[in-house]
C-alpha cells in the first residue's frame, strides 16, 4: 500500500516524534500501522533510526575547565568597559561643546581677526557639528529599522 501525499506528510511528522520518543499512545498505534502496512514507510523509519543512532553517540566538545572559571569575569569586564565608555563619551561631549563655545566666543571677540576669517572658522565649526548630528541621527534611524540590529526578535 502506497501512502497518498497528505498521509505521507503526517507519517513524516510521526516519524520524527517516534525517533525522539515524543509519541502519545494513539500516535504510536497509528505510527505502527504505517510501518506495518507500507514497506516504504518501514524502510524510511530504519534509515532515520540509523541517523538518530549516529547523532546520539555525539556530543559537543567540552572546552578547557578554565573557560568556565573565566566566563563570568569576561562578561563582567565587558559590562564595566561599557559603563566606562559611556562616562568617557559624556565627558568628551561636555568638553568639546564647552571648548567649541569658548573658541567661537574668542573668535568673535578678537578685533584683529578679519570678518571673512571669522565667518570661515565659524562656518567650519558649524558644518562639523551639523555633520556630527546627521551621522548620529542616521545611526539611530538605522538601528531602529534594521531588523538584524534588534536584540530581541520574537
Amino acid at each position: 500500500m502506497k501512502l497518498p501525499d497528505t498521509e505521507r506528510e503526517k507519517f513524516h511528522l510521526l516519524l520524527m516524534a517516534a525517533l525522539d520518543g515524543e509519541l502519545t499512545a494513539a500516535e504510536k498505534a497509528q505510527f505502527e500501522r504505517y510501518i506495518s502496512q507500507d514497506p516504504a514507510c518501514r524502510e524510511e523509519w530504519q534509515r532515520y533510526a540509523k541517523l538518530k543512532e549516529v547523532t546520539k553517540t555525539m556530543q559537543f566538545t567540552k572546552p578547557a575547565p578554565e573557560v568556565w572559571d573565566r566566563y563570568w569575569t569576561g562578561i563582567y569586564n565587558r559590562l564595566e568597559r561599557g559603563l566606562g565608555w559611556i562616562v568617557f563619551s559624556i565627558g568628551c561631549v561636555i568638553l568639546l561643546t564647552y571648548g567649541g563655545f569658548k573658541a567661537v566666543e574668542s573668535i568673535i571677540a578678537d578685533p584683529e581677526l578679519a570678518l571673512v576669517v571669522k565667518t570661515g572658522i565659524i562656518a567650519v565649526i558649524g558644518g562639523l557639528m551639523l555633520l556630527l548630528v546627521s551621522v548620529i541621527r542616521e545611526k539611530i534611524f538605522t538601528a531602529k529599522t534594521d531588523k538584524y540590529q534588534k536584540e530581541v526578535q520574537r
Binding site: L13, L51, V54, K56, M58, F60, W72, G82, Y148, V152
Partner: protein
Amino acid sequence: MNNTPPPEPPDEARLISRCQAGDVQAFGVLVEKHKRRAYYTALGLVGSHDEALDISQEAFVRAYRALARFQPQRSSFFTWYYQILRNLSFNFLRDRAKQPRPFSEIEAPGNSIQHIPDESCDPSIIAERNELKDAVWRAIDSLKAPEREIIVLRDFQDLSYKEIAETLDCPIGTVMSRLFNARKQLREKLEGYLS
C-alpha cells in the same frame, strides 16, 4: 563592585528583579546557571569555540543592558536570552558567508563535536569514528542556519518539542516539520556513512 558572583542560586524570578534593580552580582548567578547551555548552543550554531565563547558572552552583556524590557511572565530568562544569542549567531553566520575566511581561521571539521567517550581503544574503530564525526559536522555545517538550529536544540541540547517550540516561539507542528526537513538533508548528505 565585586566581580565574583555569589555561589548560592536563589529563585530565578527574584534574581531577575534584583538584576533589574541594577544588581550585577545577581546577574552573575544567572550567568552561572545558564552559561553552559548558552555556550554549547552558540557552538552548535557557529561551529567555533572562540566565536561561541564571544557570542554567548556578548549576548549576556546585551541581555543585562536590555533586562528592563524583559517580562518574566511572558517567557523564561533563557528563552528570552536565546533570542539575543540567536540573532547574534545568525548575524555572525551572515557576515561570515559574505567574507572569505583566511585558511588559518578555519577550524578543522568536527572540532566542535566528539564521540561520547567509551572503553574502545582500537585504532581502526577510533579512526572510523573520527571520520564519521567529521562527516556529521560537515553535514550539519552545510545546513541553513534555521535547520542547523533545530538539530542543535533537539539532538545536541536534548530539548523536548515543547521546549523547542517555546524557545523558537512557534507551534510544535512547525518544530516537527523543520526537524524532518533538516534530518532529511542530513540523511542525504550522510548516505554513504549510514548504509
